[in-house]
Protein backbone atom coordinates (compact mmCIF):
# COMPACT_ATOMS: atom_id res chain seq x y z
CA UNK A 1 0.00 0.00 0.00
CA UNK A 2 2.43 2.71 -1.11
CA UNK A 3 0.18 5.66 -0.35
CA UNK A 4 1.34 9.20 0.45
CA UNK A 5 2.83 9.63 -2.95
CA UNK A 6 3.43 13.12 -4.30
CA UNK A 7 3.86 15.64 -1.50
CA UNK A 8 5.66 13.48 1.03
CA UNK A 9 8.40 11.73 -0.85
CA UNK A 10 9.49 8.32 0.42
CA UNK A 11 11.30 8.88 3.71
CA UNK A 12 14.77 7.51 4.29
CA UNK A 13 14.82 3.82 5.29
CA UNK A 14 15.84 4.44 8.90
CA UNK A 15 13.26 7.09 9.44
CA UNK A 16 10.66 4.80 7.97
CA UNK A 17 11.56 2.00 10.39
CA UNK A 18 11.29 4.38 13.34
CA UNK A 19 8.07 5.74 11.97
CA UNK A 20 6.49 2.31 11.70
CA UNK A 21 7.33 1.47 15.33
CA UNK A 22 5.87 4.79 16.36
CA UNK A 23 2.90 4.07 14.14
CA UNK A 24 2.33 0.73 15.83
CA UNK A 25 2.46 2.31 19.28
CA UNK A 26 0.04 5.07 18.34
CA UNK A 27 -2.25 2.56 16.68
CA UNK A 28 -2.19 0.54 19.89
CA UNK A 29 -3.25 3.61 21.81
CA UNK A 30 -6.13 4.27 19.42
CA UNK A 31 -7.21 0.65 19.61
CA UNK A 32 -6.83 0.23 23.37
CA UNK A 33 -10.31 1.30 24.58
CA UNK A 34 -11.96 -0.98 22.08
CA UNK A 35 -9.64 -3.91 22.74
CA UNK A 36 -10.15 -3.67 26.49
CA UNK A 37 -13.94 -3.65 26.18
CA UNK A 38 -14.21 -6.39 23.59
CA UNK A 39 -11.51 -8.41 25.30
CA UNK A 40 -13.22 -8.38 28.68
CA UNK A 41 -16.81 -8.66 27.50
CA UNK A 42 -16.61 -10.66 24.26
CA UNK A 43 -13.41 -12.64 23.79
CA UNK A 44 -12.89 -13.67 27.42
CA UNK A 45 -16.52 -14.84 27.82
CA UNK A 46 -16.15 -16.76 24.60
CA UNK A 47 -13.17 -18.68 25.93
CA UNK A 48 -14.86 -19.21 29.29
CA UNK A 49 -17.99 -20.51 27.56
CA UNK A 50 -15.94 -23.36 26.15
CA UNK A 51 -14.47 -24.04 29.61
CA UNK A 52 -17.85 -23.96 31.36
CA UNK A 53 -19.38 -26.22 28.73
CA UNK A 54 -17.21 -29.00 30.18
CA UNK A 55 -18.47 -28.35 33.70
CA UNK A 56 -21.53 -29.12 35.73
CA UNK A 57 -22.54 -25.69 36.88
CA UNK A 58 -25.90 -24.56 38.18
CA UNK A 59 -27.01 -21.40 39.89
CA UNK A 60 -26.01 -22.85 43.28
CA UNK A 61 -22.83 -24.55 44.34
CA UNK A 62 -19.34 -24.80 42.85
CA UNK A 63 -18.49 -26.07 39.38
CA UNK A 64 -17.70 -29.71 38.81
CA UNK A 65 -15.62 -31.05 35.93
CA UNK A 66 -17.75 -33.15 33.60
CA UNK A 67 -15.65 -33.64 30.52
CA UNK A 68 -17.76 -34.02 27.40
CA UNK A 69 -20.85 -35.14 29.30
CA UNK A 70 -22.78 -31.93 28.63
CA UNK A 71 -22.30 -32.51 24.93
CA UNK A 72 -23.23 -36.18 25.18
CA UNK A 73 -26.41 -35.15 27.02
CA UNK A 74 -27.05 -32.53 24.41
CA UNK A 75 -26.77 -34.97 21.52
CA UNK A 76 -29.19 -37.28 23.34
CA UNK A 77 -31.63 -34.50 24.22
CA UNK A 78 -34.73 -34.70 21.96
CA UNK A 79 -35.59 -31.08 22.79
CA UNK A 80 -32.22 -30.01 21.42
CA UNK A 81 -33.07 -31.60 18.07
CA UNK A 82 -36.55 -30.15 18.16
CA UNK A 83 -35.22 -26.63 18.72
CA UNK A 84 -32.53 -27.16 16.10
CA UNK A 85 -35.21 -28.26 13.64
CA UNK A 86 -37.33 -25.20 14.53
CA UNK A 87 -34.34 -22.97 13.89
CA UNK A 88 -33.78 -24.58 10.49
CA UNK A 89 -37.46 -24.25 9.55
CA UNK A 90 -37.50 -20.62 10.66
CA UNK A 91 -34.32 -19.86 8.73
CA UNK A 92 -35.33 -21.69 5.57
CA UNK A 93 -38.68 -19.87 5.53
CA UNK A 94 -37.54 -16.36 6.42
CA UNK A 95 -34.32 -15.96 4.44
CA UNK A 96 -35.23 -16.79 0.81
CA UNK A 97 -38.74 -15.41 1.13
CA UNK A 98 -37.59 -12.14 2.65
CA UNK A 99 -34.90 -11.70 0.04
CA UNK A 100 -37.23 -12.50 -2.85
CA UNK A 101 -39.92 -10.10 -1.66
CA UNK A 102 -37.32 -7.46 -0.85
CA UNK A 103 -35.87 -7.79 -4.35
CA UNK A 104 -39.32 -7.55 -5.91
CA UNK A 105 -40.12 -4.39 -4.00
CA UNK A 106 -36.70 -2.93 -4.79
CA UNK A 107 -37.24 -3.51 -8.52
CA UNK A 108 -40.66 -1.92 -8.29
CA UNK A 109 -39.49 1.10 -6.31
CA UNK A 110 -36.45 1.59 -8.52
CA UNK A 111 -38.73 2.70 -11.35
CA UNK A 112 -39.92 6.26 -11.73
CA UNK A 113 -43.14 6.91 -9.84
CA UNK A 114 -44.66 9.62 -7.70
CA UNK A 115 -43.71 9.69 -3.99
CA UNK A 116 -41.21 6.91 -4.47
CA UNK A 117 -39.08 7.94 -1.46
CA UNK A 118 -42.16 7.97 0.78
CA UNK A 119 -43.05 4.37 -0.13
CA UNK A 120 -39.49 3.34 0.50
CA UNK A 121 -39.38 5.06 3.88
CA UNK A 122 -42.62 3.47 5.09
CA UNK A 123 -41.49 -0.02 4.06
CA UNK A 124 -38.22 0.64 5.86
CA UNK A 125 -39.80 1.74 9.17
CA UNK A 126 -40.35 -1.70 10.80
CA UNK A 127 -36.59 -2.22 10.65
CA UNK A 128 -35.88 0.55 13.16
CA UNK A 129 -38.41 -0.74 15.69
CA UNK A 130 -37.28 -3.03 18.48
CA UNK A 131 -37.86 -6.72 17.82
CA UNK A 132 -39.63 -6.86 21.17
CA UNK A 133 -42.25 -4.38 20.00
CA UNK A 134 -42.59 -6.31 16.75
CA UNK A 135 -43.12 -9.49 18.76
CA UNK A 136 -45.70 -7.90 21.05
CA UNK A 137 -47.54 -6.39 18.10
CA UNK A 138 -47.47 -9.80 16.44
CA UNK A 139 -48.85 -11.51 19.54
CA UNK A 140 -51.76 -9.09 19.48
CA UNK A 141 -52.44 -9.13 15.74
CA UNK A 142 -52.33 -12.94 15.66
CA UNK A 143 -54.30 -13.37 18.89
CA UNK A 144 -56.56 -16.27 17.98
CA UNK A 145 -59.68 -14.82 19.62
CA UNK A 146 -59.45 -11.04 19.31
CA UNK A 147 -56.54 -10.41 16.98
CA UNK A 148 -56.84 -8.51 13.73
CA UNK A 149 -55.86 -11.44 11.51
CA UNK A 150 -58.60 -13.81 12.61
CA UNK A 151 -61.19 -11.04 12.70
CA UNK A 152 -60.22 -10.13 9.17
CA UNK A 153 -60.39 -13.77 8.07
CA UNK A 154 -63.83 -14.02 9.70
CA UNK A 155 -65.04 -11.11 7.57
CA UNK A 156 -63.94 -13.13 4.54
CA UNK A 157 -65.87 -16.10 5.93
CA UNK A 158 -62.76 -18.04 6.91
CA UNK A 159 -62.38 -19.66 10.30
CA UNK A 160 -58.92 -18.47 11.34
CA UNK A 161 -56.32 -20.90 12.69
CA UNK A 162 -55.37 -21.30 16.36
CA UNK A 163 -52.26 -19.17 16.25
CA UNK A 164 -51.47 -19.70 19.93
CA UNK A 165 -52.41 -23.31 20.59
CA UNK A 166 -51.26 -24.86 17.32
CA UNK A 167 -47.49 -25.10 17.07
CA UNK A 168 -47.28 -24.99 13.28
CA UNK A 169 -49.44 -21.91 13.03
CA UNK A 170 -47.53 -20.26 15.87
CA UNK A 171 -44.35 -20.73 13.82
CA UNK A 172 -46.07 -19.29 10.76
CA UNK A 173 -47.09 -16.19 12.70
CA UNK A 174 -43.55 -15.61 14.01
CA UNK A 175 -42.18 -16.03 10.48
CA UNK A 176 -44.67 -13.51 9.09
CA UNK A 177 -43.81 -10.88 11.70
CA UNK A 178 -40.10 -11.44 11.11
CA UNK A 179 -40.60 -10.95 7.39
CA UNK A 180 -42.54 -7.77 8.06
CA UNK A 181 -39.60 -6.39 9.99
CA UNK A 182 -36.84 -7.55 7.70
CA UNK A 183 -38.11 -6.89 4.18
CA UNK A 184 -37.03 -3.26 4.49
CA UNK A 185 -33.40 -4.29 4.88
CA UNK A 186 -33.53 -6.60 1.86
CA UNK A 187 -35.19 -3.85 -0.15
CA UNK A 188 -32.69 -1.16 0.76
CA UNK A 189 -29.63 -3.30 0.05
CA UNK A 190 -31.06 -4.35 -3.30
CA UNK A 191 -31.94 -0.75 -4.13
CA UNK A 192 -28.34 0.18 -3.43
CA UNK A 193 -27.18 -2.69 -5.63
CA UNK A 194 -29.49 -1.57 -8.44
CA UNK A 195 -27.63 1.76 -8.59
CA UNK A 196 -24.76 -0.21 -10.07
CA UNK A 197 -26.83 -1.48 -12.98
CA UNK A 198 -26.09 0.60 -16.05
CA UNK A 199 -29.35 1.69 -17.71
CA UNK A 200 -27.58 1.87 -21.06
CA UNK A 201 -26.87 -1.86 -20.96
CA UNK A 202 -30.50 -2.61 -20.26
CA UNK A 203 -31.58 -0.32 -23.05
CA UNK A 204 -29.26 -2.04 -25.47
CA UNK A 205 -30.63 -5.42 -24.44
CA UNK A 206 -34.15 -4.12 -24.94
CA UNK A 207 -33.31 -2.87 -28.40
CA UNK A 208 -31.93 -6.33 -29.13
CA UNK A 209 -35.33 -7.69 -28.23
CA UNK A 210 -34.68 -9.16 -24.79
CA UNK A 211 -37.86 -9.55 -22.75
CA UNK A 212 -38.00 -7.90 -19.35
CA UNK A 213 -37.69 -11.29 -17.61
CA UNK A 214 -34.71 -12.11 -19.80
CA UNK A 215 -33.12 -8.74 -19.00
CA UNK A 216 -33.63 -9.37 -15.29
CA UNK A 217 -32.29 -12.91 -15.37
CA UNK A 218 -29.25 -12.31 -17.54
CA UNK A 219 -28.23 -8.76 -16.64
CA UNK A 220 -29.79 -7.39 -13.46
CA UNK A 221 -29.66 -10.41 -11.20
CA UNK A 222 -26.02 -11.32 -11.92
CA UNK A 223 -25.01 -7.70 -11.32
CA UNK A 224 -26.77 -7.87 -7.95
CA UNK A 225 -24.52 -10.76 -6.91
CA UNK A 226 -22.60 -8.94 -4.17
CA UNK A 227 -25.85 -7.60 -2.66
CA UNK A 228 -27.38 -11.06 -2.72
CA UNK A 229 -24.34 -12.57 -1.04
CA UNK A 230 -24.25 -9.89 1.65
CA UNK A 231 -27.96 -10.29 2.35
CA UNK A 232 -27.72 -14.05 2.40
CA UNK A 233 -25.03 -14.06 5.09
CA UNK A 234 -26.68 -11.36 7.20
CA UNK A 235 -30.12 -12.94 6.94
CA UNK A 236 -28.79 -16.38 7.82
CA UNK A 237 -27.14 -14.95 10.91
CA UNK A 238 -30.22 -12.98 11.96
CA UNK A 239 -32.53 -15.93 11.47
CA UNK A 240 -30.24 -18.40 13.14
CA UNK A 241 -29.89 -16.12 16.15
CA UNK A 242 -33.49 -14.94 16.44
CA UNK A 243 -34.48 -14.32 20.04
CA UNK A 244 -36.33 -11.09 20.87
CA UNK A 245 -39.21 -11.50 18.43
CA UNK A 246 -39.85 -15.09 19.46
CA UNK A 247 -39.47 -14.43 23.15
CA UNK A 248 -41.90 -11.51 23.12
CA UNK A 249 -44.39 -13.12 20.76
CA UNK A 250 -44.69 -16.75 21.85
CA UNK A 251 -42.01 -17.25 24.55
CA UNK A 252 -41.12 -20.36 22.52
CA UNK A 253 -44.55 -21.95 22.88
CA UNK A 254 -46.85 -23.70 22.62
CA UNK A 255 -44.63 -26.32 24.28
CA UNK A 256 -41.38 -26.09 22.32
CA UNK A 257 -42.86 -25.52 18.88
CA UNK A 258 -41.36 -22.03 18.37
CA UNK A 259 -38.35 -22.51 20.64
CA UNK A 260 -35.23 -21.87 18.60
CA UNK A 261 -31.76 -22.95 19.63
CA UNK A 262 -30.90 -19.54 21.06
CA UNK A 263 -34.15 -19.39 23.02
CA UNK A 264 -33.47 -22.88 24.33
CA UNK A 265 -30.02 -21.85 25.55
CA UNK A 266 -31.58 -18.95 27.43
CA UNK A 267 -34.27 -21.14 28.96
CA UNK A 268 -31.72 -23.69 30.16
CA UNK A 269 -29.50 -21.08 31.72
CA UNK A 270 -31.60 -18.19 32.93
CA UNK A 271 -35.33 -18.56 32.58
CA UNK A 272 -37.01 -18.37 35.97
CA UNK A 273 -39.04 -21.47 35.12
CA UNK A 274 -36.03 -23.28 33.72
CA UNK A 275 -33.57 -25.47 35.54
CA UNK A 276 -30.69 -22.97 35.64
CA UNK A 277 -28.23 -25.42 34.07
CA UNK A 278 -25.42 -23.02 33.31
CA UNK A 279 -22.97 -25.68 32.11
CA UNK A 280 -25.57 -27.14 29.79
CA UNK A 281 -26.52 -23.68 28.54
CA UNK A 282 -22.85 -23.01 27.82
CA UNK A 283 -22.68 -26.24 25.81
CA UNK A 284 -25.60 -25.04 23.68
CA UNK A 285 -23.74 -21.74 23.46
CA UNK A 286 -20.74 -23.53 21.99
CA UNK A 287 -22.95 -25.09 19.31
CA UNK A 288 -24.47 -21.69 18.52
CA UNK A 289 -21.02 -20.21 18.31
CA UNK A 290 -19.77 -22.98 16.02
CA UNK A 291 -22.60 -22.41 13.56
CA UNK A 292 -22.20 -18.63 13.73
CA UNK A 293 -18.50 -19.04 13.01
CA UNK A 294 -19.28 -21.00 9.85
CA UNK A 295 -21.52 -18.18 8.69
CA UNK A 296 -18.92 -15.64 9.76
CA UNK A 297 -16.38 -17.30 7.51
CA UNK A 298 -18.70 -16.16 4.73
CA UNK A 299 -18.70 -12.69 6.21
CA UNK A 300 -14.89 -12.64 6.21
CA UNK A 301 -14.75 -13.41 2.54
CA UNK A 302 -17.41 -10.81 2.06
CA UNK A 303 -15.58 -8.03 3.90
CA UNK A 304 -12.55 -8.50 1.68
CA UNK A 305 -14.61 -8.40 -1.50
CA UNK A 306 -16.49 -5.36 -0.19
CA UNK A 307 -13.22 -3.56 0.36
CA UNK A 308 -12.26 -4.21 -3.21
CA UNK A 309 -15.57 -2.80 -4.35
CA UNK A 310 -15.82 0.19 -2.09
Amino acid sequence: MPAAAGLAAAPAPRRRARRSIGDALTAGGFLLPNLVLSGVFLVLPLILTVVISFQKLDSLGPAQWLGVNNFLDLFRDPTFYETLWNTVVFTVCTVPLGMAVGLGIALLLNTVMPLRTLWRAVIFVPLVLSSVSVGLLGAWMFDQYNGFVNKFLAVLGIDGPDWQSNGTWAMVSVILMTLWQRIGLDMIIYLAGLQGVDPAVLEAAEVDGASSWRRFRSIVFPLLGPSTFFLLIMNLLFSFQVFDTVYAMTAGGPNFSTTTLVVYAYQQGFSDHGPGQLGYAAAIGVVIFAVSLLLTAGQWRLSTTRDEVG
Binding site: A24, T26, L35, L37, F41, N110, L129, K151, I189, A282
Partner: protein, 297 residues
Protein backbone atom coordinates in the same frame (compact mmCIF):
# COMPACT_ATOMS: atom_id res chain seq x y z
CA UNK B 1 -24.40 3.28 -1.02
CA UNK B 2 -26.89 6.06 -0.50
CA UNK B 3 -30.17 5.00 -1.89
CA UNK B 4 -32.64 7.66 -0.92
CA UNK B 5 -31.31 10.19 -3.34
CA UNK B 6 -32.95 10.21 -6.74
CA UNK B 7 -31.30 7.69 -8.96
CA UNK B 8 -30.98 7.25 -12.66
CA UNK B 9 -34.05 5.35 -13.76
CA UNK B 10 -33.29 2.13 -15.56
CA UNK B 11 -34.41 1.64 -19.12
CA UNK B 12 -37.54 -0.14 -18.00
CA UNK B 13 -39.04 3.20 -17.10
CA UNK B 14 -37.55 5.21 -19.95
CA UNK B 15 -39.93 6.84 -22.42
CA UNK B 16 -41.23 4.34 -24.89
CA UNK B 17 -39.45 4.10 -28.22
CA UNK B 18 -41.07 0.92 -29.47
CA UNK B 19 -43.69 0.39 -32.17
CA UNK B 20 -46.87 2.40 -32.24
CA UNK B 21 -49.35 1.67 -29.49
CA UNK B 22 -46.68 0.98 -26.90
CA UNK B 23 -46.73 4.33 -25.14
CA UNK B 24 -50.30 3.59 -24.09
CA UNK B 25 -49.34 0.20 -22.70
CA UNK B 26 -46.40 1.77 -20.90
CA UNK B 27 -48.71 4.24 -19.29
CA UNK B 28 -51.00 1.52 -18.09
CA UNK B 29 -48.02 -0.35 -16.63
CA UNK B 30 -46.92 2.81 -14.91
CA UNK B 31 -50.29 3.11 -13.21
CA UNK B 32 -50.21 -0.58 -12.29
CA UNK B 33 -46.80 -0.15 -10.73
CA UNK B 34 -47.94 2.84 -8.71
CA UNK B 35 -50.99 0.95 -7.50
CA UNK B 36 -48.87 -2.00 -6.41
CA UNK B 37 -46.45 0.31 -4.61
CA UNK B 38 -49.31 1.94 -2.74
CA UNK B 39 -50.80 -1.44 -1.84
CA UNK B 40 -47.50 -2.85 -0.57
CA UNK B 41 -46.88 0.28 1.43
CA UNK B 42 -50.35 0.10 2.92
CA UNK B 43 -49.85 -3.53 3.96
CA UNK B 44 -46.48 -2.70 5.50
CA UNK B 45 -47.85 0.32 7.36
CA UNK B 46 -50.97 -1.40 8.59
CA UNK B 47 -49.53 -3.19 11.66
CA UNK B 48 -48.25 0.14 12.96
CA UNK B 49 -51.66 1.69 12.39
CA UNK B 50 -53.16 -1.23 14.31
CA UNK B 51 -50.82 -0.55 17.22
CA UNK B 52 -51.90 3.10 17.23
CA UNK B 53 -55.56 2.20 16.97
CA UNK B 54 -55.32 -0.35 19.78
CA UNK B 55 -53.47 2.03 22.06
CA UNK B 56 -56.30 4.56 21.92
CA UNK B 57 -59.24 2.18 21.92
CA UNK B 58 -61.43 1.20 24.84
CA UNK B 59 -61.09 -2.32 26.14
CA UNK B 60 -64.68 -3.33 25.39
CA UNK B 61 -64.23 -2.20 21.79
CA UNK B 62 -61.03 -4.22 21.38
CA UNK B 63 -62.59 -7.38 22.75
CA UNK B 64 -65.98 -7.00 21.09
CA UNK B 65 -66.76 -9.25 18.14
CA UNK B 66 -66.52 -7.81 14.65
CA UNK B 67 -63.80 -5.90 12.86
CA UNK B 68 -63.51 -2.14 13.17
CA UNK B 69 -60.82 -0.39 11.21
CA UNK B 70 -61.18 2.96 12.97
CA UNK B 71 -61.47 3.94 16.66
CA UNK B 72 -64.91 3.59 18.23
CA UNK B 73 -64.28 5.54 21.43
CA UNK B 74 -61.08 7.46 22.05
CA UNK B 75 -59.34 6.94 25.41
CA UNK B 76 -56.07 7.58 27.25
CA UNK B 77 -56.80 4.81 29.79
CA UNK B 78 -54.45 2.36 28.12
CA UNK B 79 -51.60 4.69 28.99
CA UNK B 80 -52.67 5.86 32.43
CA UNK B 81 -53.56 2.48 33.94
CA UNK B 82 -50.18 0.75 33.39
CA UNK B 83 -48.29 3.95 34.19
CA UNK B 84 -50.05 4.03 37.56
CA UNK B 85 -49.29 0.41 38.24
CA UNK B 86 -45.72 0.07 36.95
CA UNK B 87 -42.69 2.38 37.08
CA UNK B 88 -42.98 3.01 33.34
CA UNK B 89 -41.23 6.39 33.43
CA UNK B 90 -38.36 4.84 35.39
CA UNK B 91 -38.03 2.25 32.63
CA UNK B 92 -38.07 5.00 30.05
CA UNK B 93 -35.37 6.89 31.93
CA UNK B 94 -33.26 3.72 32.35
CA UNK B 95 -33.50 3.01 28.62
CA UNK B 96 -32.45 6.58 27.89
CA UNK B 97 -29.52 6.56 30.34
CA UNK B 98 -28.26 3.21 29.05
CA UNK B 99 -28.67 4.12 25.39
CA UNK B 100 -26.94 7.49 25.76
CA UNK B 101 -24.04 6.05 27.77
CA UNK B 102 -23.52 3.10 25.44
CA UNK B 103 -23.72 5.38 22.41
CA UNK B 104 -21.10 7.74 23.83
CA UNK B 105 -18.68 4.94 24.73
CA UNK B 106 -19.06 2.86 21.56
CA UNK B 107 -18.89 5.76 19.17
CA UNK B 108 -15.69 7.12 20.74
CA UNK B 109 -14.07 3.66 20.86
CA UNK B 110 -15.13 2.73 17.36
CA UNK B 111 -14.05 6.01 15.79
CA UNK B 112 -10.60 5.65 17.36
CA UNK B 113 -10.30 2.01 16.34
CA UNK B 114 -11.62 2.59 12.83
CA UNK B 115 -9.07 5.38 12.36
CA UNK B 116 -6.25 3.11 13.54
CA UNK B 117 -7.32 0.42 11.09
CA UNK B 118 -7.57 2.89 8.23
CA UNK B 119 -4.50 5.05 8.71
CA UNK B 120 -1.80 3.19 10.64
CA UNK B 121 0.48 0.39 9.58
CA UNK B 122 1.13 -2.31 12.12
CA UNK B 123 1.64 -6.02 12.17
CA UNK B 124 -1.39 -8.28 12.46
CA UNK B 125 -3.73 -5.48 11.41
CA UNK B 126 -5.87 -7.56 9.08
CA UNK B 127 -6.17 -10.50 11.47
CA UNK B 128 -7.13 -8.23 14.32
CA UNK B 129 -9.73 -6.54 12.15
CA UNK B 130 -11.28 -9.84 11.16
CA UNK B 131 -11.31 -11.09 14.76
CA UNK B 132 -13.03 -7.91 15.94
CA UNK B 133 -15.53 -8.09 13.09
CA UNK B 134 -16.33 -11.69 13.86
CA UNK B 135 -17.14 -10.89 17.50
CA UNK B 136 -20.05 -8.99 15.98
CA UNK B 137 -21.49 -12.33 14.89
CA UNK B 138 -21.67 -13.84 18.37
CA UNK B 139 -25.14 -13.74 19.86
CA UNK B 140 -25.23 -12.84 23.52
CA UNK B 141 -26.92 -16.16 24.34
CA UNK B 142 -23.78 -18.01 23.29
CA UNK B 143 -21.62 -16.26 25.87
CA UNK B 144 -24.17 -15.15 28.46
CA UNK B 145 -23.08 -17.55 31.21
CA UNK B 146 -19.52 -16.25 31.68
CA UNK B 147 -20.54 -12.74 30.70
CA UNK B 148 -22.97 -12.72 33.59
CA UNK B 149 -20.23 -13.91 35.91
CA UNK B 150 -17.75 -11.31 34.73
CA UNK B 151 -20.32 -8.57 35.22
CA UNK B 152 -21.00 -9.88 38.72
CA UNK B 153 -17.30 -10.22 39.59
CA UNK B 154 -16.70 -6.65 38.49
CA UNK B 155 -19.37 -5.59 40.97
CA UNK B 156 -21.70 -4.36 38.23
CA UNK B 157 -24.65 -6.56 39.11
CA UNK B 158 -27.67 -4.64 40.32
CA UNK B 159 -26.57 -1.53 38.50
CA UNK B 160 -27.22 -0.03 35.07
CA UNK B 161 -23.47 -0.35 34.42
CA UNK B 162 -24.04 -4.10 34.17
CA UNK B 163 -25.75 -3.32 30.88
CA UNK B 164 -23.73 -0.31 29.79
CA UNK B 165 -20.20 -1.75 29.86
CA UNK B 166 -20.79 -5.14 28.20
CA UNK B 167 -23.04 -3.60 25.54
CA UNK B 168 -20.42 -0.95 24.81
CA UNK B 169 -18.21 -3.72 23.49
CA UNK B 170 -20.07 -3.43 20.18
CA UNK B 171 -17.81 -3.26 17.17
CA UNK B 172 -20.12 -2.72 14.20
CA UNK B 173 -19.13 0.94 14.13
CA UNK B 174 -15.49 0.07 13.42
CA UNK B 175 -16.40 -1.14 9.98
CA UNK B 176 -18.22 2.09 9.13
CA UNK B 177 -15.48 4.26 10.61
CA UNK B 178 -12.65 2.46 8.84
CA UNK B 179 -14.45 2.67 5.52
CA UNK B 180 -14.96 6.41 5.97
CA UNK B 181 -11.44 7.21 7.15
CA UNK B 182 -9.93 5.29 4.24
CA UNK B 183 -11.44 7.99 2.06
CA UNK B 184 -9.56 10.82 3.82
CA UNK B 185 -6.38 11.59 1.88
CA UNK B 186 -3.12 10.66 3.59
CA UNK B 187 -1.57 13.95 2.41
CA UNK B 188 -3.87 15.86 4.69
CA UNK B 189 -2.74 13.92 7.74
CA UNK B 190 0.88 14.01 6.62
CA UNK B 191 0.74 17.79 6.24
CA UNK B 192 -0.63 18.24 9.75
CA UNK B 193 2.07 15.94 11.09
CA UNK B 194 4.83 17.89 9.39
CA UNK B 195 3.41 20.94 11.10
CA UNK B 196 4.23 19.13 14.34
CA UNK B 197 0.80 17.93 15.45
CA UNK B 198 0.66 14.68 17.44
CA UNK B 199 -1.49 11.78 16.30
CA UNK B 200 -4.33 12.55 18.70
CA UNK B 201 -4.24 16.22 17.79
CA UNK B 202 -4.39 15.37 14.07
CA UNK B 203 -7.32 13.09 14.72
CA UNK B 204 -9.15 15.65 16.82
CA UNK B 205 -8.67 18.82 14.82
CA UNK B 206 -8.05 17.63 11.26
CA UNK B 207 -9.85 14.33 10.79
CA UNK B 208 -12.90 14.57 13.05
CA UNK B 209 -14.20 17.86 11.63
CA UNK B 210 -14.39 16.07 8.27
CA UNK B 211 -16.20 13.11 9.77
CA UNK B 212 -19.49 14.73 10.78
CA UNK B 213 -21.66 12.50 8.57
CA UNK B 214 -19.86 9.43 9.93
CA UNK B 215 -20.42 10.59 13.50
CA UNK B 216 -24.10 11.23 12.80
CA UNK B 217 -24.59 7.76 11.32
CA UNK B 218 -22.65 6.07 14.12
CA UNK B 219 -24.50 7.90 16.89
CA UNK B 220 -27.92 7.17 15.43
CA UNK B 221 -27.16 3.51 14.80
CA UNK B 222 -25.65 2.94 18.22
CA UNK B 223 -28.53 4.70 19.94
CA UNK B 224 -31.15 2.76 18.02
CA UNK B 225 -29.38 -0.51 18.63
CA UNK B 226 -29.16 0.05 22.36
CA UNK B 227 -32.63 1.53 22.77
CA UNK B 228 -34.01 -1.63 21.17
CA UNK B 229 -31.73 -4.01 23.03
CA UNK B 230 -33.44 -6.77 24.97
CA UNK B 231 -31.46 -9.99 25.41
CA UNK B 232 -28.66 -8.85 27.68
CA UNK B 233 -30.81 -6.56 29.86
CA UNK B 234 -33.20 -9.49 30.26
CA UNK B 235 -30.38 -11.66 31.59
CA UNK B 236 -28.65 -9.16 33.81
CA UNK B 237 -31.42 -6.85 35.02
CA UNK B 238 -34.06 -9.48 35.47
CA UNK B 239 -34.25 -9.40 39.24
CA UNK B 240 -34.92 -5.69 39.76
CA UNK B 241 -38.00 -3.95 38.37
CA UNK B 242 -36.54 -0.53 39.16
CA UNK B 243 -33.68 -1.18 36.73
CA UNK B 244 -35.85 -2.42 33.85
CA UNK B 245 -35.57 -0.88 30.42
CA UNK B 246 -38.64 -0.26 28.27
CA UNK B 247 -38.51 -3.57 26.32
CA UNK B 248 -37.80 -5.49 29.50
CA UNK B 249 -40.66 -3.89 31.41
CA UNK B 250 -42.98 -4.49 28.47
CA UNK B 251 -42.28 -8.21 28.31
CA UNK B 252 -41.60 -9.10 31.92
CA UNK B 253 -44.18 -6.94 33.67
CA UNK B 254 -46.84 -5.79 31.25
CA UNK B 255 -47.12 -8.87 29.10
CA UNK B 256 -47.06 -11.38 31.93
CA UNK B 257 -49.47 -9.53 34.20
CA UNK B 258 -51.75 -7.98 31.61
CA UNK B 259 -51.73 -10.91 29.24
CA UNK B 260 -55.19 -10.15 27.99
CA UNK B 261 -55.04 -6.36 28.06
CA UNK B 262 -53.49 -5.59 24.72
CA UNK B 263 -54.73 -1.99 24.88
CA UNK B 264 -52.26 -1.31 27.69
CA UNK B 265 -49.48 -3.37 26.09
CA UNK B 266 -49.84 -1.59 22.75
CA UNK B 267 -49.99 1.81 24.45
CA UNK B 268 -46.70 1.30 26.28
CA UNK B 269 -45.18 -0.33 23.20
CA UNK B 270 -46.14 2.78 21.26
CA UNK B 271 -44.46 4.87 23.95
CA UNK B 272 -41.31 2.76 23.62
CA UNK B 273 -41.03 3.06 19.82
CA UNK B 274 -41.85 6.77 19.64
CA UNK B 275 -38.30 8.12 20.23
CA UNK B 276 -36.89 5.94 17.45
CA UNK B 277 -39.71 6.84 15.08
CA UNK B 278 -39.10 10.54 15.73
CA UNK B 279 -35.38 10.12 15.11
CA UNK B 280 -36.10 8.13 11.96
CA UNK B 281 -38.37 10.78 10.53
CA UNK B 282 -35.82 13.48 11.31
CA UNK B 283 -32.69 11.66 10.14
CA UNK B 284 -33.98 9.10 7.67
CA UNK B 285 -31.03 9.45 5.31
CA UNK B 286 -28.48 8.55 8.00
CA UNK B 287 -30.47 5.55 9.18
CA UNK B 288 -30.76 4.16 5.69
CA UNK B 289 -27.08 4.74 4.98
CA UNK B 290 -25.93 3.18 8.23
CA UNK B 291 -28.19 0.17 8.08
CA UNK B 292 -27.41 -0.47 4.44
CA UNK B 293 -23.69 -0.38 5.16
CA UNK B 294 -23.51 -2.45 8.30
CA UNK B 295 -26.45 -4.71 7.54
CA UNK B 296 -27.30 -4.29 11.19
CA UNK B 297 -30.80 -5.36 11.98
Amino acid sequence: MTTTTASAPPAVAAPATGPAGRPYRRNRFRRLRLVSAVLITAVMAFPLYWMLLTAFSRRDDLYAPGLHLWPQHFTWDNFSAPIERFPVWTWFRNSLVIAVAVTAITVVCNLLAGYAFAKFRFRGKNILFLVLLSTMMIPVQAIMVPQFRIATDLGLYGDLWAVILPESAAVFGIFLARQFFLGIPDELIEAARIDGAGALRVFWSVVLPLAKPLIAVSVLLAFMNEWNSFSWPLIVLFANEQLFTMPLGLVTDLQSQYTSDYGAIMAITLLSVTPILVLFVAFQRYFVQGLARTGLK
